[in-house]
Amino acid sequence: MALSPTDVARLAGLARIHLTAEELERMAPQLDVILDAVAEVSQVATHDVPPMSHALPLTNVFRADEVRPSLSAEAVLAAAPDVEENRFRVPRILGEGA
């Protein structure tokens, strides 16, 4: 299928990982080899075989909607990269001038 560095750059964008040109060049053939090796999987199972997402035949598990103790705001914010006014401070989320 031959993934090009351009394809890999698009995937990296979707995955929110900034890759350098050198990493794109290096990773494209590696991903290609792996995808080639796993491609035979698509030839094995026909569509009459049901997909298995999970080892156990579980359906959703619910609990009663009751208030329970939870972590304090202080504990939750303790590992934050940046905190402002007792909240997570994040970089700007809108475009320039917004």
């Binding site: 995955a15 900034h18 796993v38 094995v44 997909p51 298995m52 579980l58 939750v76 970089p91």
Partner: protein, 511 residues
């Protein structure tokens, strides 16, 4: 008990001695902390040693026992915890730069159960980043070295936990197994490692890699020790929605019994032959002879779809990885770089993930992103899920005929550090034999079965049992352990390391 007696004892023996007050938990804990101090510079099994915390925990157990309290069989016994389990206030990295310096605000269910059983946590062990790897070379903090040969890999991802056992730095350890991360390190270090039935142990507070496959499990030097630890950590947990609400299989009873009379054991035809080291196949066959001697019936069983398991795994696992690791967004915890006031959230996120993740993690996230992207979903992820069904059906058919399935735990013994780093596919093949059980979610374990004649390195014997029949894994493991001990005239395989030339630096020989 003197230093040597403590370090060479089994966890069961230590627990009994501590309960009988012939030794204190503090004395035992101090002996293992000293061993870590003496040898971990070479082995690098630990990312963090919590000496003060461990000694305080040990002193608290001693006080309760002195007060006449009756505690469980492992109370006061130390353990090495894989750095993937959250432990409140203790640095937890999962082997990643992204989580450097992170201290979890809560305990994993497994961590809590260990502490409730009075088990003393010595520290956190090294692992491949986010459990992705078979050698610990993907750890952001440098590899762990195999105690049998320091130039070789200790397996992965749980190489630190397995190495800590082989180097007698701890009598017990915890691992997690997504595609073999407990069993393959167990095999290449001559130790015992069991992956319980999926849902048998709680994933709550375990840093996620691939949620439909991840499963915590026990690591030890003996089968009984692993079973005792299994019993401590297993059982229903309402905080994990995939936890099984059923009694824990009688694993300790099975490990004590080791009776395989009349048990039908199936050799998986597809897990052998080309690509398997001669010494691995030889020791595997000898182990089968011993089990036959012990009264088991050995037959051969074909599981034709196992040859597609690796391929299906490398689509399903990366897909789940790409989704699970989206949480490292540099906003709530973890590494953030490039936040200069001008860059957007998305730019900071991309730069932070690039700086925080290693190559293998990036590769798997991109593979998963590709396999799940529109237009490819059905051909890749969809097909892999259907192959997963076929593998499960192979197991079901086989278990109609036999009680357990067996194979080598890994095709080769420990390879050299650096040997497979540039070839991801060669690295992935280390897990050829272990992946099928993760796909089906059944129980499986690796047990030491000798040293390969060509390189003198440990070989692992894998036992696979139907879901919730974890006790059969221990029953077969115990039978094998007993027969091998008779044949060798020593205790465990790791005793041979302690008594031999290769293990001289461990300083475990009687003067």
């Amino acid at each position: 008990m003197n230093r040597l007696e403590i370090l060479r004892a089994t966890a069961a023996e230590l627990g009994a001695a501590i309960a009988a007050r012939t030794v204190t938990s503090v004395e035992v804990t101090r002996a293992f902390l000293d061993q870590i101090e003496a040898v971990d510079g070479r082995v690098h099994a630990f990312l963090h040693v919590d000496a003060a915390g461990a000694l305080a925990q040990a002193a608290a157990i001693d006080e309760r026992l002195d007060g006449g309290e009756k505690l469980g069989p492992l109370a006061g016994v130390p353990l090495a915890l894989k750095d993937i389990f959250c432990q409140e206030g203790i640095p937890t990295t999962a082997g990643s730069k992204t989580l450097e310096g992170w201290r979890p605000p809560y305990d994993a269910t497994v961590t809590r159960r260990l502490q409730e059983a009075g088990i003393v946590i010595l520290g956190k062990t090294n692992m491949d980043e986010f459990a992705m790897g078979s050698s610990t070379e993907n750890s952001a903090y440098g590899p762990t070295h195999n105690p049998w040969d320091l130039d070789r890999i200790p397996g992965g991802s749980g190489g630190g936990s397995a190495a800590s056992l082989a180097a007698f730095e701890a009598p017990l350890a915890m691992g997690t197994d997504t595609g073999g991360s407990i069993r393959q390190p167990g095999a290449v270090t001559g130790t015992v490692g069991v992956k319980p039935t999926y849902g048998g142990t709680s994933r709550y507070g375990v840093i996620a890699m691939a949620s439909s496959l991840d499963q915590p499990g026990p690591c030890a030097r003996t089968v009984l020790d692993a079973a005792l630890l299994h019993e401590v950590i297993a059982g229903h947990d309402p905080a994990d929605s995939t936890s099984i609400d059923a009694p824990v299989p009688p694993v300790v009873e099975a490990a004590r019994s080791g009776d395989v009379t009349g048990l039908r054991i199936g050799i998986v035809t597809e897990l052998g032959g080309e690509g398997y080291a001669p010494g691995v196949e030889q020791r595997f066959r000898e182990a089968l002879d011993l089990l036959r001697e012990a009264g088991a019936e050995i037959v051969e069983v074909s599981c034709p779809h196992f040859r597609y398991a690796l391929g299906a795994y490398y689509l399903i696992m990366p897909s789940e990885v790409s989704s699970n690791l989206a949480r490292y967004d540099a906003m709530r915890y973890g590494l953030r770089v490039g936040d200069d006031g001008a860059r957007s959230t998305e730019e900071v996120m991309s730069l932070s993930r690039a700086a925080g993740f290693g190559d293998e993690v990036k590769r798997r996230i991109m593979l998963g992103t590709y396999a799940l992207s529109s237009g490819y979903y059905d051909a890749y992820y969809g097909s892999a899920q259907r192959v997963r069904t076929l593998i499960d059906q192979d197991f079901d058919a086989a278990f109609q005929d036999v009680d357990v399935l067996v194979s080598p735990a890994t095709p080769t013994t420990a390879f050299k550090l650096g040997e497979r780093v540039a070839d991801p596919l060669a690295m992935y093949k280390s897990d050829l034999c272990t992946i099928p059980s993760n796909m089906a979610g059944n129980a499986a374990g690796s047990f030491p079965c000798g040293l390969a004649p060509e390189d003198g390195l440990p070989v692992g014997f894998q036992v696979m049992a139907p879901p919730l029949a974890d006790d059969r894994v221990y029953r077969v493991g115990a039978a094998l352990e007993r027969k091998l001990a008779e044949r060798w005239g020593t205790g465990t395989l790791t005793d041979q390391l302690a008594d031999g030339e290769a293990g001289a630096y461990l300083n475990l020989k009687e003067a």
